[in-house]
Subunit: 298 residues, 2 copies
């Protein structure tokens, strides 16, 4: 009994230490399992489809930003020679006239969802894509791939992928706020024009390139570069009397990439149905901001 | 003594509990202070300058992506009426000719760093900016502001900000790899053209808008929209015989925003010096990818 009463404090201390250790351990496990679970849930919410690969992690711009240069250096070899540059020049009056005419032309551009099935000469599409390819790009990487689909079966498959995803988006993923916004816009997930338009142009951004030695080459500013290229494409289409609607299919990128057999470094940025406007095409009666609302002179 | 030997286990238990509690607490504090410190370091690395506000957190695209619609709905009111749309149309031969001419024009575009100080008519710049403003945008938000600087003093201040940051970038922030890349490109941080060019066009993206009730309105796809607008701007400049170089000044956005008195919802996307090419302008002798390297037909 005396021995016991001497040992009791020792036992108590040991017991307490064991309990304390277990408490600390359990808290650690709890913390890490909570954060693991969070990560899991987050990645599940993102990657809930078997075909989803890293395509959904679409933010190379974000991570690359630290390494980027401000200037879009156009030459890509040290010993690239410089050559004299003298582009066309015009007298002031003609400049003014040209600037007015180009504005008038581009100001007629509208996003058109009613596209005619009438065939469009393929050479015109070739030239329009060639023109898009004249855009500047970070370090002259030219990080764009234009997939031009005219095959009716493939167009239909693309439509199926897009409509299926859009319906899921509308019904499940969007918050009430967004669904209300959409109701306002009278948009729904039926995209006739994906079957009807003679061409679908799917614009992929190449997030990185592969060097001859097999290593990856970061494509700085690839999304901005490809978007600029898309702006030039829109101008080129308007210039020949063709119409399109700029769309960025939500969550379809990975499926469409696989469907079109594009490599993993390419990510879908935009999908443009291209053709003549339908005879009965309409557009919402909207206005553009006046110059003073978009321009500040200093 | 008997009392003491009875109390000892109790005291030991209390002592152990106190110790255990302190251990747990200290671990919690440690964990949170570590993560706080990490956040602090990370944000310090990003926000190491007093004028830096949320401008550097430039990734509205990333966070907005979950809420976005694929279609760039152009109408912005429920009861927006539709009107017939019939843009100019051309016979096939003329389409082909127009597409070739436009390609030839745009294919002459190059990024030019040698810009003439010769004055450019202001009306031409106005029309070029008007043209850029015809770009499509997510939900017709038109999320762009073009700040056109011709004031020599302001141009010089901009140059100082850009050169100072560029020098820091080159000297301190860039890894060896990037500095080597740049050596190849023969780029440095001296940007004469920021003083010399008659106009500097600073393109800001509006990451959100302010509704009449004071609430924020997300601008979906604002960076892509503004980049498309920039593509149209480049085409408009080329069309009148002016040159520019597409630059995205690294880390200067917040300073330039403050300098130009732009609101916090605007973030600098691009800085374009605009003018005639200098008489002795040169460009690196580079080629563009052939059509088959950028286009896939299906």
């Amino acid at each position: 009994m005396a021995l016991l009463s001497v040992l009791t404090p020792v036992l108590a201390v040991v017991l307490c230490l064991v309990l304390g250790f277990m408490l600390v351990k359990s808290r650690e496990t709890k913390t890490s399992s909570t954060s693991e679970r969070k990560t899991e849930v987050a990645s599940k919410a993102k990657d809930f489809k078997p075909w989803v690969d890293q395509d959904l992690q679409d933010d190379t711009e974000t991570t690359a930003r630290e390494d980027e240069d401000g200037d879009w250096v156009d030459n890509c070899e040290e010993d690239r020679q410089h050559v004299p540059y003298s582009p066309p020049s015009y007298p002031e009056e003609m400049m003014l006239q040209r600037s007015e005419e180009f504005y008038t032309l581009l100001n007629q551009r509208r996003s058109v969802r009613f596209i005619s099935p009438k065939p469009v000469p393929r050479e015109v599409i070739d030239n329009v894509i060639r023109t898009a390819g004249t855009a500047p790009s970070g370090a002259h990487t030219e990080p764009w791939t234009f997939v031009v689909v005219s095959d009716p079966e493939m167009k239909h498959k693309i439509r199926q992928v897009v409509e299926e995803e859009e319906e899921v988006n509308y019904r499940q993923r969007m918050g009430d706020k967004w669904v209300n916004d959409l109701a306002k816009f009278k948009t729904n997930w039926i995209k006739d024009y994906l079957d009807v338009a003679p061409y679908l142009v799917l614009i992929f951004k190449q997030t990185y390139g592969i060097l001859p030695n097999g290593k990856k080459r970061t494509h700085y500013y690839n999304e901005i570069s490809v978007s600029i290229s898309c702006g030039i494409l829109l101008a080129a289409l308007q210039n020949v009397g063709l119409v399109t609607v700029t769309s960025t299919p939500l969550n379809c990128g990975p499926q469409l990439r696989v469907l079109l057999k594009r490599p993993v470094n390419e990510k879908l940025l935009m999908l443009l149905p291209v053709g003549y406007p339908a005879a009965d095409a309409t557009v919402p009666d909207l206005k553009r901001k006046p110059l003073d609302d978009i321009m500040v002179r200093i």
